[in-house]
Protein backbone atom coordinates (compact mmCIF):
# COMPACT_ATOMS: atom_id res chain seq x y z
CA UNK A 1 0.00 0.00 0.00
CA UNK A 2 1.17 3.50 -0.86
CA UNK A 3 2.99 5.25 1.97
CA UNK A 4 1.50 8.64 2.80
CA UNK A 5 3.09 11.97 1.96
CA UNK A 6 2.96 15.01 4.21
CA UNK A 7 0.39 14.80 7.00
CA UNK A 8 -0.61 18.39 6.20
CA UNK A 9 0.15 18.85 2.50
CA UNK A 10 0.06 22.64 2.57
CA UNK A 11 1.72 23.60 5.86
CA UNK A 12 4.30 20.82 5.83
CA UNK A 13 5.31 21.67 2.27
CA UNK A 14 5.69 25.30 3.31
CA UNK A 15 7.92 24.29 6.26
CA UNK A 16 10.05 22.13 4.00
CA UNK A 17 10.29 24.94 1.44
CA UNK A 18 11.37 27.31 4.19
CA UNK A 19 14.03 24.81 5.30
CA UNK A 20 15.46 24.54 1.77
CA UNK A 21 15.46 28.32 1.48
CA UNK A 22 17.37 28.58 4.79
CA UNK A 23 19.82 25.92 3.70
CA UNK A 24 20.51 27.53 0.31
CA UNK A 25 20.86 31.01 1.76
CA UNK A 26 23.23 29.76 4.49
CA UNK A 27 25.40 27.25 2.66
CA UNK A 28 26.86 24.61 4.94
CA UNK A 29 24.38 25.23 7.75
CA UNK A 30 22.53 22.10 8.87
CA UNK A 31 18.78 22.64 8.82
CA UNK A 32 16.27 20.13 10.21
CA UNK A 33 13.05 19.47 8.32
CA UNK A 34 10.09 18.91 10.59
CA UNK A 35 7.70 17.36 10.05
CA UNK A 36 9.17 15.16 7.32
CA UNK A 37 7.34 12.30 5.60
CA UNK A 38 8.49 8.69 5.69
CA UNK A 39 9.08 7.76 2.08
CA UNK A 40 9.98 4.24 0.93
CA UNK A 41 13.66 3.36 1.45
CA UNK A 42 16.19 4.27 0.24
CA UNK A 43 14.71 7.77 -0.03
CA UNK A 44 15.52 9.66 3.17
CA UNK A 45 12.82 11.63 4.99
CA UNK A 46 14.57 14.88 4.05
CA UNK A 47 14.72 13.80 0.42
CA UNK A 48 11.04 12.91 0.51
CA UNK A 49 10.20 16.30 2.01
CA UNK A 50 12.15 18.12 -0.72
CA UNK A 51 10.44 16.11 -3.44
CA UNK A 52 6.99 16.85 -2.06
CA UNK A 53 7.73 20.53 -1.54
CA UNK A 54 9.54 21.25 -4.81
CA UNK A 55 8.34 18.85 -7.50
CA UNK A 56 5.19 18.83 -9.58
CA UNK A 57 3.98 18.11 -13.09
CA UNK A 58 6.32 20.79 -14.48
CA UNK A 59 9.56 19.43 -12.98
CA UNK A 60 11.14 16.42 -14.69
CA UNK A 61 12.72 14.21 -12.04
CA UNK A 62 15.48 11.61 -12.04
CA UNK A 63 15.86 9.14 -9.18
CA UNK A 64 17.74 5.94 -8.43
CA UNK A 65 15.71 4.61 -5.49
CA UNK A 66 13.93 1.78 -7.30
CA UNK A 67 10.34 1.01 -8.22
CA UNK A 68 8.70 1.72 -4.86
CA UNK A 69 10.40 5.08 -4.59
CA UNK A 70 9.34 5.87 -8.16
CA UNK A 71 5.71 4.99 -7.41
CA UNK A 72 5.75 7.12 -4.29
CA UNK A 73 7.25 10.12 -6.10
CA UNK A 74 4.87 9.78 -9.03
CA UNK A 75 1.82 9.43 -6.82
CA UNK A 76 2.58 12.29 -4.46
CA UNK A 77 4.20 14.82 -6.80
CA UNK A 78 2.80 13.99 -10.24
CA UNK A 79 6.27 14.77 -11.61
CA UNK A 80 7.34 13.11 -14.86
CA UNK A 81 10.54 11.04 -14.84
CA UNK A 82 13.39 11.97 -17.16
CA UNK A 83 16.89 10.90 -18.08
CA UNK A 84 19.46 12.58 -15.86
CA UNK A 85 20.54 15.29 -18.36
CA UNK A 86 16.93 16.45 -18.77
CA UNK A 87 16.00 16.35 -15.08
CA UNK A 88 15.30 19.51 -13.10
CA UNK A 89 15.60 17.63 -9.80
CA UNK A 90 17.77 14.57 -9.19
CA UNK A 91 17.29 12.41 -6.12
CA UNK A 92 20.42 10.30 -5.71
CA UNK A 93 20.53 7.65 -3.01
CA UNK A 94 23.68 6.11 -4.52
CA UNK A 95 26.34 7.51 -6.80
CA UNK A 96 24.84 10.39 -8.81
CA UNK A 97 25.33 10.68 -12.58
CA UNK A 98 28.48 12.53 -13.69
CA UNK A 99 27.84 16.15 -12.73
CA UNK A 100 29.09 17.54 -16.04
CA UNK A 101 26.32 15.64 -17.87
CA UNK A 102 23.52 17.31 -15.89
CA UNK A 103 21.47 20.33 -16.92
CA UNK A 104 23.48 23.41 -15.95
CA UNK A 105 20.99 25.92 -17.37
CA UNK A 106 21.98 28.48 -19.97
CA UNK A 107 23.79 31.79 -19.68
CA UNK A 108 20.47 33.49 -20.38
CA UNK A 109 18.46 31.33 -17.94
CA UNK A 110 20.99 29.96 -15.44
CA UNK A 111 18.25 29.26 -12.89
CA UNK A 112 17.15 26.38 -15.10
CA UNK A 113 20.20 24.45 -13.85
CA UNK A 114 19.32 21.22 -12.03
CA UNK A 115 19.14 20.70 -8.28
CA UNK A 116 20.92 17.57 -7.10
CA UNK A 117 19.57 16.11 -3.87
CA UNK A 118 21.99 13.58 -2.46
CA UNK A 119 21.81 11.18 0.49
CA UNK A 120 24.95 11.16 2.61
CA UNK A 121 25.97 8.99 5.57
CA UNK A 122 26.26 11.84 8.06
CA UNK A 123 26.12 15.61 8.37
CA UNK A 124 28.04 17.41 11.12
CA UNK A 125 28.32 21.09 11.90
CA UNK A 126 32.11 20.85 12.04
CA UNK A 127 34.23 18.94 9.59
CA UNK A 128 36.65 18.82 6.75
CA UNK A 129 34.75 20.90 4.20
CA UNK A 130 35.67 24.59 4.42
CA UNK A 131 33.15 26.75 2.60
CA UNK A 132 33.27 30.33 1.37
CA UNK A 133 30.92 32.51 -0.65
CA UNK A 134 27.64 34.42 -0.55
CA UNK A 135 25.58 33.70 2.57
CA UNK A 136 28.68 32.82 4.59
CA UNK A 137 30.47 35.26 6.86
CA UNK A 138 34.17 34.63 6.20
CA UNK A 139 34.18 30.83 6.26
CA UNK A 140 32.22 27.87 7.68
CA UNK A 141 33.01 24.22 7.98
CA UNK A 142 30.78 21.23 7.37
CA UNK A 143 31.30 17.56 8.05
CA UNK A 144 29.93 15.27 5.36
CA UNK A 145 30.54 11.53 5.36
CA UNK A 146 29.75 9.26 2.48
CA UNK A 147 30.35 11.61 -0.43
CA UNK A 148 30.88 9.76 -3.71
CA UNK A 149 34.49 9.53 -4.82
CA UNK A 150 35.71 12.56 -6.76
CA UNK A 151 32.43 14.37 -6.07
CA UNK A 152 34.03 17.63 -4.97
CA UNK A 153 36.47 17.61 -7.87
CA UNK A 154 33.60 17.08 -10.32
CA UNK A 155 31.76 19.96 -8.71
CA UNK A 156 34.80 22.22 -8.80
CA UNK A 157 35.17 21.49 -12.52
CA UNK A 158 31.79 23.18 -13.13
CA UNK A 159 32.95 26.46 -11.64
CA UNK A 160 34.18 28.04 -14.91
CA UNK A 161 30.63 27.70 -16.30
CA UNK A 162 29.18 30.06 -13.68
CA UNK A 163 26.42 31.42 -13.65
CA UNK A 164 25.48 28.08 -15.17
CA UNK A 165 25.75 25.29 -12.64
CA UNK A 166 24.16 22.91 -10.16
CA UNK A 167 22.74 23.49 -6.73
CA UNK A 168 23.37 20.61 -4.36
CA UNK A 169 21.46 19.60 -1.24
CA UNK A 170 22.84 16.90 1.08
CA UNK A 171 20.29 14.84 3.02
CA UNK A 172 20.83 12.75 6.11
CA UNK A 173 17.76 11.50 7.92
CA UNK A 174 15.53 14.54 8.26
CA UNK A 175 18.39 17.07 8.00
CA UNK A 176 19.73 18.95 5.03
CA UNK A 177 22.69 21.15 4.18
CA UNK A 178 23.18 22.90 0.87
CA UNK A 179 26.01 23.75 -1.49
CA UNK A 180 24.58 26.23 -3.98
CA UNK A 181 26.64 26.87 -7.08
CA UNK A 182 27.94 30.13 -5.58
CA UNK A 183 29.71 28.35 -2.73
CA UNK A 184 33.39 27.63 -3.02
CA UNK A 185 34.91 24.62 -1.28
CA UNK A 186 38.42 25.60 -0.21
Amino acid sequence: MMQPGFADPVLDAQSAFRAVLEALSHPGRIIPIAPAPIPPAPLSPAMGALALALCDADTPVWQDGGAQAADWLRFHTGAPFAEAPAAMFLFATGRPPALSTLNLGTDEVPQDGATLVLNVASLKAQGTLRLRGPGIKDEVSLGVEGLPENFLAERAALRPHFPRGLDIVFCCGAQIAALPRTTEVI
Binding site: D56, A57, D58, F75, G78, A79
Partner: protein, 360 residues
Protein backbone atom coordinates in the same frame (compact mmCIF):
# COMPACT_ATOMS: atom_id res chain seq x y z
CA UNK B 1 12.10 56.07 -9.19
CA UNK B 2 9.61 55.68 -6.39
CA UNK B 3 9.75 56.93 -2.86
CA UNK B 4 8.15 55.05 -0.05
CA UNK B 5 5.13 56.82 1.36
CA UNK B 6 3.35 55.83 4.52
CA UNK B 7 -0.11 56.80 5.61
CA UNK B 8 -3.54 56.60 4.09
CA UNK B 9 -4.52 53.36 5.85
CA UNK B 10 -7.82 54.65 7.13
CA UNK B 11 -8.55 56.40 3.84
CA UNK B 12 -8.00 53.09 2.04
CA UNK B 13 -10.18 51.15 4.49
CA UNK B 14 -12.95 53.70 4.10
CA UNK B 15 -12.64 53.65 0.32
CA UNK B 16 -13.04 49.87 0.36
CA UNK B 17 -16.09 50.12 2.61
CA UNK B 18 -17.64 52.60 0.20
CA UNK B 19 -16.77 50.30 -2.69
CA UNK B 20 -18.62 47.44 -0.96
CA UNK B 21 -21.64 49.67 -0.47
CA UNK B 22 -21.59 50.78 -4.11
CA UNK B 23 -21.25 47.17 -5.23
CA UNK B 24 -24.36 46.22 -3.31
CA UNK B 25 -26.31 49.08 -4.87
CA UNK B 26 -29.84 49.86 -3.71
CA UNK B 27 -30.44 47.66 -0.66
CA UNK B 28 -34.17 47.68 -1.41
CA UNK B 29 -33.45 45.38 -4.38
CA UNK B 30 -32.53 41.72 -3.86
CA UNK B 31 -28.81 40.95 -3.91
CA UNK B 32 -27.71 39.12 -7.07
CA UNK B 33 -25.95 35.77 -6.56
CA UNK B 34 -23.01 34.32 -8.48
CA UNK B 35 -25.30 31.47 -9.59
CA UNK B 36 -27.63 33.96 -11.23
CA UNK B 37 -24.72 35.66 -12.97
CA UNK B 38 -23.35 32.32 -14.17
CA UNK B 39 -26.73 31.31 -15.59
CA UNK B 40 -28.14 34.57 -16.88
CA UNK B 41 -25.08 36.60 -17.85
CA UNK B 42 -23.28 33.60 -19.31
CA UNK B 43 -21.48 35.40 -22.13
CA UNK B 44 -19.98 37.95 -19.74
CA UNK B 45 -18.85 35.04 -17.57
CA UNK B 46 -17.28 33.33 -20.58
CA UNK B 47 -15.40 36.48 -21.51
CA UNK B 48 -13.98 36.62 -17.99
CA UNK B 49 -12.96 32.95 -18.19
CA UNK B 50 -11.21 33.61 -21.52
CA UNK B 51 -9.36 36.75 -20.49
CA UNK B 52 -8.72 35.41 -17.00
CA UNK B 53 -7.29 32.30 -18.70
CA UNK B 54 -9.04 30.01 -16.25
CA UNK B 55 -12.02 27.87 -17.07
CA UNK B 56 -14.28 27.87 -14.03
CA UNK B 57 -17.74 29.26 -14.55
CA UNK B 58 -18.57 29.77 -10.86
CA UNK B 59 -15.34 31.59 -10.10
CA UNK B 60 -15.71 33.82 -13.15
CA UNK B 61 -19.26 34.69 -12.06
CA UNK B 62 -18.05 35.50 -8.55
CA UNK B 63 -15.25 37.63 -10.01
CA UNK B 64 -17.79 39.57 -12.08
CA UNK B 65 -19.92 40.19 -9.01
CA UNK B 66 -16.93 41.29 -6.95
CA UNK B 67 -15.70 43.53 -9.79
CA UNK B 68 -19.09 45.22 -10.14
CA UNK B 69 -19.33 43.90 -13.70
CA UNK B 70 -15.91 45.21 -14.82
CA UNK B 71 -14.75 42.33 -17.01
CA UNK B 72 -11.07 43.31 -17.04
CA UNK B 73 -10.98 43.66 -13.25
CA UNK B 74 -12.78 40.31 -13.02
CA UNK B 75 -10.21 38.69 -15.33
CA UNK B 76 -7.47 40.10 -13.09
CA UNK B 77 -9.13 38.55 -10.01
CA UNK B 78 -9.41 35.19 -11.75
CA UNK B 79 -5.76 35.28 -12.84
CA UNK B 80 -4.70 36.06 -9.27
CA UNK B 81 -6.73 33.17 -7.89
CA UNK B 82 -5.44 30.82 -10.58
CA UNK B 83 -1.89 31.62 -9.51
CA UNK B 84 -2.55 30.10 -6.09
CA UNK B 85 -3.38 26.66 -7.52
CA UNK B 86 -0.91 23.91 -8.39
CA UNK B 87 -0.92 22.59 -11.94
CA UNK B 88 -1.64 18.87 -12.01
CA UNK B 89 -0.70 18.41 -15.64
CA UNK B 90 -1.71 18.81 -19.26
CA UNK B 91 -4.83 17.60 -21.02
CA UNK B 92 -4.74 15.99 -24.44
CA UNK B 93 -5.40 18.55 -27.21
CA UNK B 94 -9.16 19.13 -27.54
CA UNK B 95 -10.58 17.20 -30.47
CA UNK B 96 -12.97 19.76 -31.91
CA UNK B 97 -14.00 17.28 -34.62
CA UNK B 98 -15.62 15.29 -31.78
CA UNK B 99 -17.53 18.35 -30.60
CA UNK B 100 -21.13 17.98 -29.57
CA UNK B 101 -22.16 20.74 -31.92
CA UNK B 102 -24.71 23.36 -30.85
CA UNK B 103 -23.91 25.74 -33.67
CA UNK B 104 -22.05 25.31 -36.92
CA UNK B 105 -22.11 27.58 -39.90
CA UNK B 106 -20.05 27.99 -43.04
CA UNK B 107 -19.93 31.00 -45.33
CA UNK B 108 -18.06 29.10 -48.04
CA UNK B 109 -20.46 26.22 -48.72
CA UNK B 110 -24.22 26.39 -48.53
CA UNK B 111 -24.84 22.68 -48.62
CA UNK B 112 -22.32 20.77 -46.61
CA UNK B 113 -22.52 17.54 -44.61
CA UNK B 114 -24.29 18.25 -41.33
CA UNK B 115 -25.77 21.47 -42.71
CA UNK B 116 -25.93 25.00 -41.39
CA UNK B 117 -26.93 24.80 -37.73
CA UNK B 118 -27.74 28.19 -36.21
CA UNK B 119 -27.84 27.27 -32.53
CA UNK B 120 -28.61 29.82 -29.78
CA UNK B 121 -27.43 32.87 -31.76
CA UNK B 122 -28.08 36.61 -31.74
CA UNK B 123 -27.80 36.54 -35.54
CA UNK B 124 -31.12 37.33 -37.28
CA UNK B 125 -32.51 39.02 -34.17
CA UNK B 126 -33.74 42.52 -34.99
CA UNK B 127 -31.70 44.19 -32.29
CA UNK B 128 -34.84 45.75 -30.86
CA UNK B 129 -34.85 46.12 -27.11
CA UNK B 130 -37.34 43.72 -25.56
CA UNK B 131 -38.84 46.08 -23.06
CA UNK B 132 -40.69 43.31 -21.22
CA UNK B 133 -37.33 41.72 -20.29
CA UNK B 134 -36.65 44.62 -17.93
CA UNK B 135 -38.55 43.03 -15.09
CA UNK B 136 -39.16 39.34 -14.57
CA UNK B 137 -40.49 38.06 -17.85
CA UNK B 138 -41.11 34.51 -16.67
CA UNK B 139 -40.16 31.23 -18.24
CA UNK B 140 -39.69 31.13 -22.03
CA UNK B 141 -41.21 28.32 -24.05
CA UNK B 142 -38.85 25.36 -24.25
CA UNK B 143 -36.70 25.36 -27.40
CA UNK B 144 -38.18 23.16 -30.14
CA UNK B 145 -36.57 19.79 -30.74
CA UNK B 146 -36.28 17.93 -34.01
CA UNK B 147 -37.13 14.22 -34.14
CA UNK B 148 -33.49 13.34 -34.62
CA UNK B 149 -30.22 14.87 -33.56
CA UNK B 150 -27.64 16.64 -35.68
CA UNK B 151 -25.57 14.41 -37.93
CA UNK B 152 -21.74 14.25 -37.93
CA UNK B 153 -20.05 17.35 -39.30
CA UNK B 154 -16.71 17.02 -41.06
CA UNK B 155 -14.52 20.09 -41.03
CA UNK B 156 -14.85 22.35 -44.05
CA UNK B 157 -11.09 22.84 -44.11
CA UNK B 158 -10.64 19.08 -44.37
CA UNK B 159 -12.87 19.02 -47.46
CA UNK B 160 -10.62 21.65 -49.09
CA UNK B 161 -7.47 19.92 -47.93
CA UNK B 162 -8.56 16.67 -49.57
CA UNK B 163 -8.70 18.49 -52.90
CA UNK B 164 -5.21 19.83 -52.31
CA UNK B 165 -6.53 23.40 -52.25
CA UNK B 166 -5.86 24.03 -48.55
CA UNK B 167 -2.52 23.96 -46.78
CA UNK B 168 -2.56 21.36 -44.03
CA UNK B 169 -1.28 22.19 -40.59
CA UNK B 170 1.13 19.43 -39.78
CA UNK B 171 0.64 17.91 -36.34
CA UNK B 172 3.79 17.29 -34.33
CA UNK B 173 4.38 15.67 -30.98
CA UNK B 174 6.53 18.56 -29.81
CA UNK B 175 5.66 19.97 -26.38
CA UNK B 176 4.12 23.37 -27.06
CA UNK B 177 5.71 26.40 -25.37
CA UNK B 178 3.83 27.88 -22.42
CA UNK B 179 3.39 31.61 -22.00
CA UNK B 180 2.74 31.19 -18.28
CA UNK B 181 6.06 29.43 -17.67
CA UNK B 182 8.45 31.31 -19.94
CA UNK B 183 8.34 34.81 -21.33
CA UNK B 184 7.55 35.74 -24.90
CA UNK B 185 10.47 35.46 -27.29
CA UNK B 186 10.59 36.57 -30.87
CA UNK B 187 10.16 35.39 -33.51
CA UNK B 188 7.22 33.88 -31.64
CA UNK B 189 6.05 30.53 -32.90
CA UNK B 190 2.40 30.10 -33.81
CA UNK B 191 1.58 28.00 -30.74
CA UNK B 192 2.64 30.86 -28.49
CA UNK B 193 0.67 33.38 -30.53
CA UNK B 194 -2.48 31.23 -30.30
CA UNK B 195 -2.12 30.85 -26.52
CA UNK B 196 -1.55 34.56 -26.16
CA UNK B 197 -4.57 35.52 -28.27
CA UNK B 198 -6.90 32.99 -26.62
CA UNK B 199 -6.46 34.96 -23.37
CA UNK B 200 -6.08 38.28 -25.16
CA UNK B 201 -8.40 41.24 -24.94
CA UNK B 202 -11.45 40.78 -27.13
CA UNK B 203 -11.69 44.44 -28.08
CA UNK B 204 -8.02 44.65 -29.06
CA UNK B 205 -8.24 41.54 -31.22
CA UNK B 206 -11.51 42.70 -32.76
CA UNK B 207 -9.98 46.03 -33.78
CA UNK B 208 -6.89 44.35 -35.21
CA UNK B 209 -8.97 41.76 -37.07
CA UNK B 210 -11.11 44.55 -38.48
CA UNK B 211 -8.00 46.46 -39.56
CA UNK B 212 -6.90 43.48 -41.70
CA UNK B 213 -10.22 43.65 -43.54
CA UNK B 214 -9.87 47.37 -44.16
CA UNK B 215 -6.55 47.15 -45.93
CA UNK B 216 -4.01 47.04 -43.11
CA UNK B 217 -2.63 43.71 -44.23
CA UNK B 218 -3.52 41.78 -47.29
CA UNK B 219 -6.50 39.71 -46.17
CA UNK B 220 -9.27 38.20 -48.25
CA UNK B 221 -10.99 36.12 -45.60
CA UNK B 222 -13.96 33.79 -45.74
CA UNK B 223 -15.48 32.02 -42.77
CA UNK B 224 -14.77 28.43 -43.70
CA UNK B 225 -16.51 27.30 -40.57
CA UNK B 226 -17.53 28.35 -37.10
CA UNK B 227 -18.57 25.68 -34.64
CA UNK B 228 -19.57 25.91 -31.00
CA UNK B 229 -20.32 23.15 -28.54
CA UNK B 230 -19.02 20.87 -25.81
CA UNK B 231 -15.78 18.96 -26.27
CA UNK B 232 -14.62 16.17 -23.93
CA UNK B 233 -11.55 16.99 -21.86
CA UNK B 234 -9.21 14.04 -21.73
CA UNK B 235 -6.48 13.87 -19.11
CA UNK B 236 -4.03 11.21 -17.97
CA UNK B 237 -3.58 11.51 -14.19
CA UNK B 238 0.00 10.46 -13.38
CA UNK B 239 -1.40 8.24 -10.60
CA UNK B 240 -3.40 6.25 -13.17
CA UNK B 241 -1.24 6.20 -16.25
CA UNK B 242 -4.22 6.04 -18.61
CA UNK B 243 -6.50 8.69 -20.05
CA UNK B 244 -9.95 9.49 -18.70
CA UNK B 245 -12.54 12.11 -19.53
CA UNK B 246 -12.63 14.62 -16.67
CA UNK B 247 -15.59 16.57 -18.06
CA UNK B 248 -16.52 18.71 -21.03
CA UNK B 249 -15.72 22.25 -22.03
CA UNK B 250 -17.76 24.45 -24.34
CA UNK B 251 -15.61 26.21 -26.93
CA UNK B 252 -16.06 28.24 -30.10
CA UNK B 253 -13.78 27.49 -33.02
CA UNK B 254 -13.33 29.53 -36.18
CA UNK B 255 -11.54 28.44 -39.34
CA UNK B 256 -10.90 31.47 -41.53
CA UNK B 257 -10.01 30.67 -45.12
CA UNK B 258 -7.64 33.06 -46.85
CA UNK B 259 -6.05 33.28 -50.27
CA UNK B 260 -2.36 32.68 -50.62
CA UNK B 261 -0.63 33.79 -53.78
CA UNK B 262 1.86 30.95 -53.71
CA UNK B 263 5.59 31.16 -54.35
CA UNK B 264 8.31 29.27 -56.18
CA UNK B 265 7.80 26.10 -54.13
CA UNK B 266 4.08 26.26 -53.33
CA UNK B 267 1.24 26.65 -55.84
CA UNK B 268 -1.46 29.22 -55.10
CA UNK B 269 -3.84 27.79 -52.50
CA UNK B 270 -5.93 28.61 -49.45
CA UNK B 271 -4.41 28.99 -46.01
CA UNK B 272 -6.21 29.20 -42.74
CA UNK B 273 -6.34 31.40 -39.73
CA UNK B 274 -7.50 29.74 -36.55
CA UNK B 275 -9.42 30.88 -33.52
CA UNK B 276 -10.36 28.89 -30.42
CA UNK B 277 -11.90 30.43 -27.31
CA UNK B 278 -13.80 29.07 -24.31
CA UNK B 279 -17.57 29.46 -24.23
CA UNK B 280 -19.77 30.90 -26.93
CA UNK B 281 -17.87 33.83 -28.36
CA UNK B 282 -17.60 33.84 -32.12
CA UNK B 283 -16.73 37.54 -32.31
CA UNK B 284 -13.48 36.78 -30.51
CA UNK B 285 -12.89 33.44 -32.27
CA UNK B 286 -13.29 35.20 -35.64
CA UNK B 287 -11.07 38.13 -34.68
CA UNK B 288 -8.45 35.72 -33.38
CA UNK B 289 -8.50 33.73 -36.61
CA UNK B 290 -8.06 36.91 -38.69
CA UNK B 291 -5.10 38.02 -36.61
CA UNK B 292 -3.63 34.50 -36.55
CA UNK B 293 -3.62 34.50 -40.35
CA UNK B 294 -2.15 38.00 -40.46
CA UNK B 295 0.62 36.93 -38.06
CA UNK B 296 1.55 34.08 -40.39
CA UNK B 297 2.77 36.63 -42.94
CA UNK B 298 6.45 36.06 -42.28
CA UNK B 299 6.05 32.26 -42.22
CA UNK B 300 4.34 32.47 -45.64
CA UNK B 301 6.85 34.95 -47.04
CA UNK B 302 4.38 37.83 -47.31
CA UNK B 303 5.45 41.43 -46.91
CA UNK B 304 4.82 42.79 -43.41
CA UNK B 305 3.14 46.15 -43.72
CA UNK B 306 0.42 46.31 -41.06
CA UNK B 307 0.17 46.22 -37.26
CA UNK B 308 -1.80 42.94 -37.25
CA UNK B 309 1.11 41.22 -39.02
CA UNK B 310 3.64 42.40 -36.44
CA UNK B 311 3.94 39.68 -33.80
CA UNK B 312 5.72 41.90 -31.27
CA UNK B 313 3.07 44.57 -31.58
CA UNK B 314 0.17 42.12 -31.30
CA UNK B 315 1.46 39.78 -28.61
CA UNK B 316 3.00 42.40 -26.34
CA UNK B 317 -0.22 44.38 -26.28
CA UNK B 318 -3.09 41.90 -26.44
CA UNK B 319 -3.17 40.96 -22.75
CA UNK B 320 -5.53 43.28 -20.94
CA UNK B 321 -4.30 42.41 -17.45
CA UNK B 322 -0.76 43.39 -18.47
CA UNK B 323 -1.96 46.46 -20.35
CA UNK B 324 -4.07 47.55 -17.40
CA UNK B 325 -1.15 47.09 -15.04
CA UNK B 326 1.15 49.33 -17.02
CA UNK B 327 -1.40 51.97 -17.90
CA UNK B 328 -2.80 52.13 -14.39
CA UNK B 329 0.59 52.13 -12.68
CA UNK B 330 0.75 55.76 -13.75
CA UNK B 331 -1.58 56.40 -10.82
CA UNK B 332 1.16 55.40 -8.39
CA UNK B 333 3.13 58.19 -6.72
CA UNK B 334 5.69 59.59 -9.15
CA UNK B 335 6.41 62.55 -6.87
CA UNK B 336 10.19 62.34 -7.11
CA UNK B 337 10.24 61.74 -10.87
CA UNK B 338 7.98 64.67 -11.34
CA UNK B 339 10.05 66.94 -9.06
CA UNK B 340 13.09 66.29 -11.21
CA UNK B 341 11.08 66.96 -14.38
CA UNK B 342 9.89 70.22 -12.83
CA UNK B 343 13.40 71.30 -11.97
CA UNK B 344 14.66 70.41 -15.39
CA UNK B 345 11.87 72.36 -17.07
CA UNK B 346 12.47 75.41 -14.87
CA UNK B 347 16.15 75.31 -15.76
CA UNK B 348 15.45 75.02 -19.48
CA UNK B 349 12.97 77.89 -19.33
CA UNK B 350 15.44 80.06 -17.44
CA UNK B 351 18.07 79.41 -20.11
CA UNK B 352 15.53 80.01 -22.85
CA UNK B 353 14.60 83.37 -21.30
CA UNK B 354 18.24 84.27 -20.77
CA UNK B 355 19.12 83.44 -24.40
CA UNK B 356 16.33 85.61 -25.68
CA UNK B 357 17.32 88.42 -23.29
CA UNK B 358 20.89 88.35 -24.60
CA UNK B 359 19.81 88.42 -28.25
CA UNK B 360 17.31 91.27 -27.93
Amino acid sequence: MYVSVKGGESAIANAHAWLAERRRGDAALPEITADQIAEQLGLAVERVMAEGACIDRDLAALALKQARGDSTEAAFLLRAYRNTLPRFGYAAPLDTAAMQVQRRISATYKDLPGGQVLGPSFDYTHRLLELDLAGRKGEPDPAPQADTGVTPMPRVTEMLAREGLMARDTATDAEPPDLTREGLRFPAIRALALQSMARGDEGFLLALGYSTQRGYGNAHPFVGEIRMGAVPVEFTPPELGFAIDIGDVVVTECQMVNQFAGNNETPPQFTRGYGLVPGQNERKAMAMSLVDRALRASELGEEITAPAQDAEFVLYHCDNVESTGFVEHLKLPHYVDFQSELEKLRGIRARWAADRGEKS
